[in-house]
Symmetry: C2
Amino acid sequence: MTTSRRTFIAGAAVAASATAGAAVNSYPKLVHHVFFWLKNPGSKEDLAKLLAGLRTLAAIESVRGAHFGVPASTEKRDVVDNSYSASEILFFDDPAGQKTYQDHPIHKQFVADCSHLWQRVVVYDAIAA
Amino acid sequence: MTTSRRTFIAGAAVAASATAGAAVNSYPKLVHHVFFWLKNPGSKEDLAKLLAGLRTLAAIESVRGAHFGVPASTEKRDVVDNSYSASEILFFDDPAGQKTYQDHPIHKQFVADCSHLWQRVVVYDAIAA
């Protein structure tokens, strides 16, 4: 068992075949992943505004973790969608935590400030299984 | 500052407006999020096989964190896609870590064992920004 791998597993315990000594821990159960497509995908200024707005969301009290990003330079494959402009991942303990976020004044302010920047949003909510 | 919120932020430091006392930390920079649509979306057995296969992936040495899930019971909205069967999130330090995973025998074994179960896969790779 090594802690240096810093591996955290959500959902059921890792399968018995996981012999690499993963330090088993848990992410919060609910992950909320939102992808944004900017109206002006080539605008670094619009992207910076959107990312700045996204970062304010981490202050909402039910948020347990956050990752804000842009498409990574991984291998281009048919199954990889790298057409989006920005990615927002927030972790919550449960659907109630996500609902608190959804209705929160900070989230509403973000939408008011930034929704003119995007043309399309897709949301995926997943619960650990 | 409270540590009980267990909030971790990837990317740039949280905006100054984040006044809720978030404990600022980092997720690994690269997140690899894969959505699977089963050929038989109503088959609990096929879903269980897929989830069991996914859990083996956490043993790959470059994996820094994992969340495996199914659609959550959050509010149904036009922007929410809950049509998928299973969600796989893996965190890596960088694109090289994702490449190690992509080419790893455990990943190849998972594809050999489980690819007959799914009809569609979509991958999003995002790097903290």
